[in-house]
């Protein structure tokens, strides 16, 4: 199959959906001529014109609200927030309006929109352009939260998100934008709420998200050489969470390491851990539930500090090895 980048997969999903469905449009800062801060929408202005690629000045709250309003009357907007750090400016409309209108109006409103935003560190962009805040939005009933780790997943999940009749927060990862993988040319969907076992294994489960899926897969290859057989589970959708796949994997392996980039405290890893600890998998656990996640600091500028602020392959290997060897 043809290989394209994660970034191209996202662009393709949007382009093909916009070709298919005239209710779909984009709104965001510098998404037109500039092509988006990461060039995700590059070329789309030429194809669709300024009526469907709405370039706006710095107005995170209003552009998000504009997506909510348009969705409310049957459009299918895709809003882009340039960096996830700035969802802090948009969250009123996302959390109080997009997420709640349907329930608040007795199930009689529909808000089919996508809010796309890149998260994560690794580009030297420092404290204000590197956060991973996905767990904020998983806490909000009414929102769905998607976080793809491969080009294939990115396209299929984004198509599903656009077609979903709810507000979906689609969290991209900056370091994945340039990664390549096989992606069908035609439109296809990956159901929201369905985890993917990225690697089967029997000794230990790693549940990882976004760029940590790739790092965990690399770690698994190394550990395989040591005879440790790791299963890597990628939830792909954080809300609704495919608890069964997580639980079944842990029941099989008896050990689980949770890996994410976001700060450990109150990150999604806590939810994963709790879901497992309160499930029937509890009885199968052969060791404590371990988490490896971002340090309790903002993301610093200096390259080496930034590197050490979040889990790297070697940290995953080490932690997984310890866990594999642990006997309780």
């Amino acid at each position: 199959m043809r290989e394209i980048t994660y970034l191209e997969a996202i662009r393709e999903a949007m382009t093909q959906e916009m070709e298919r469905d005239e209710r779909v449009f984009m709104i965001g800062e510098d998404i037109g001529e500039y092509g988006g801060a990461f060039q995700v929408s590059y070329g789309m202005l030429e194809q669709f014109g300024p009526e469907r690629i709405l370039d706006v000045p710095i107005t995170e709250l209003a552009l998000t609200g504009a997506a909510v309003g348009a969705a409310l009357i049957g459009m299918r907007p895709i809003a882009e927030i340039m960096f996830m750090d700035f969802t802090t400016l948009a969250s009123e409309q996302l959390v109080n309006q997009a997420a709640k209108l349907r329930f608040m109006f007795g199930g009689k409103a529909t808000v089919p929109m996508v809010l796309r935003t890149p998260s994560g560190s690794g580009t030297g962009a420092a404290e204000h352009h590197s956060q991973s805040l996905e767990n904020w939005f998983t806490h909000i009933p009414g929102l769905k939260v998607v976080q793809p780790s491969t080009p294939y997943d990115a396209k299929g999940l984004l198509v599903s998100s656009i077609r979903d009749n709810n507000a979906v927060v689609f969290v991209e990862h900056k370091l994945l934008y340039k990664t390549k993988g096989p992606v069908p040319e035609e439109l296809y969907t990956i159901p929201l709420g369905q985890a993917d076992i990225k690697r089967e294994g029997k000794d230990l489960t790693i549940i990882a998200t976004a760029v940590m899926v790739q790092r965990s897969l690399q770690a698994a290859e190394e550990l395989a050489k040591e005879g440790i057989d790791v299963e890597v589970v990628d939830p792909r959708t954080l809300r609704p969470l495919d608890k069964d796949t997580l639980i079944n994997s842990v029941k099989k392996t008896g050990k689980v390491l949770i890996v994410h980039e976001a700060v450990k405290t109150s990150g999604i890893g806590g939810e994963f851990a709790a879901v497992i600890a309160e499930s029937e998998a509890f009885g199968y656990l052969e060791a404590p539930i371990m988490r490896l996640a971002g340090e309790e600091i903002p993301i610093p500028y200096n390259r080496m500090l930034e590197y050490h602020a979040v889990p790297q392959v070697e940290n995953i290997i080490e932690k997984a090895r310890d866990l594999a060897q642990l006997k309780v």
Partner: protein, 320 residues
């Protein structure tokens, strides 16, 4: 601006229905029948009716927390509305929304909103959608004077002008945001000036004069419908009651309240229709009675309506 006898009847009936609804709401609350809070718009009826009377049934409104009047003016079913106020299963929002969130999306009412300025960014998006849908529909987006100081207002006005959306932004300036005296930073004329600076027509009206409100909004609606983009209309008015159930009126004087009561928008309108010989005293009295009777019927309907079943609690969060 001339109106017909039919119009005079309709507008007056709506104003009385609003007045009666609010009085009933207050009574029901005082009687302990309502759990929660409410925001009454007694004294502001002309702003709601005058503005919304300019719309076609297929047009939209989006409101704010003080939304009972707007909802009635948009032609809500009073029974379903009162049932929602009572939190009943057959209310507009199945008892989920209550006073602050009554909506009727199908009927073109995109809802009251508990977040000050929460509806303004959405209004821009509705306008963008309406423009794309090319059916000539327009939106009236209501908000209070308090909302005008929120960042959401500024950002939204800029986008509204940029995309030339068919939206009339209507600031119902009742002088206070809770206890904050809005004239400490802007009066109605100044808020209208902001509209102009953003690049849209901006006017302020005597918001207690239904016909003046109607004329200003009518013009703005035509402007929008003709594809000429948004406008801002500021209706200068006053709420007679406290901000919400818990208000002690510490921030204003009884004299001020009394002065504004002298400017009762309903009285003012009846004077006009009498003078113009559109309606007689008797007709007016009959309309008044009708308004109160409608609300009394709605109250009875609401009180007789069933509570939502707890088994349905988790429904309606996600659309299929």
């Amino acid at each position: 601006m001339k109106i017909t006898k039919q119009q005079a009847e309709d507008y007056l009936l709506q104003m009385y229905q609003i007045r009666a609804f609010e009085e009933q709401a207050e009574k029901s609350y005082m009687a302990g029948k309502i759990h929660g809070t409410m925001h009454l718009s007694i004294g502001m009826e002309a702003s709601a009716v005058g503005s919304i009377s300019t719309l076609e049934p297929t047009d939209f409104i989006i409101g704010h927390h003080r939304g009972h009047g707007l909802t009635i003016a948009k032609g809500a079913d009073l029974n379903l509305m009162m049932a929602e106020f009572y939190g009943k299963a057959n209310g507009y929002c199945r008892g989920r929304g209550g006073s602050m969130h009554i909506a009727d999306v199908e009927g073109g009412n995109l809802g009251a909103n508990g977040v000050v300025a929460g509806g303004i960014p959405m209004a821009v998006g509705v306008g963008i959608g309406l423009k794309m849908q090319k059916e000539g529909r327009v939106l009236l987006a209501f908000f209070g004077d308090g909302a005008a100081s929120a960042g959401a207002f500024h950002e939204s006005m800029i986008l509204a002008v940029l995309f030339q959306v068919p939206v009339v932004f209507i600031c119902e300036n009742n002088q206070y945001a809770m206890s904050f005296r809005t004239s400490d930073w802007a009066d109605s004329a100044k808020i209208a000036e902001f509209g102009k600076l953003y690049g849209m027509p901006g006017t302020s009206t005597n918001g207690n004069n239904l016909l003046e409100v109607r004329e200003a909004v009518q013009k703005a609606v035509e402007h929008a419908r003709a594809g000429n983009g948004p406008s801002l209309v500021v209706n200068d008015t006053y709420r007679w009651r406290g901000h919400s159930k818990s208000d002690r009126n510490r921030y204003r004087t009884q004299e001020e309240i009394d002065e504004w009561k002298e400017k009762d928008p309903i009285v003012r309108f009846t004077e006009v229709v009498l003078k113009e010989k559109l309606l007689t005293e008797e007709e007016i009295e009959k309309i008044r009675e009708q308004g109160y009777a409608d609300i009394e019927a709605a109250r009875a309907f609401a009180e007789a309506s069933p509570e939502p079943e707890v088994a349905t609690l988790l429904e309606g969060v996600y659309a299929p």
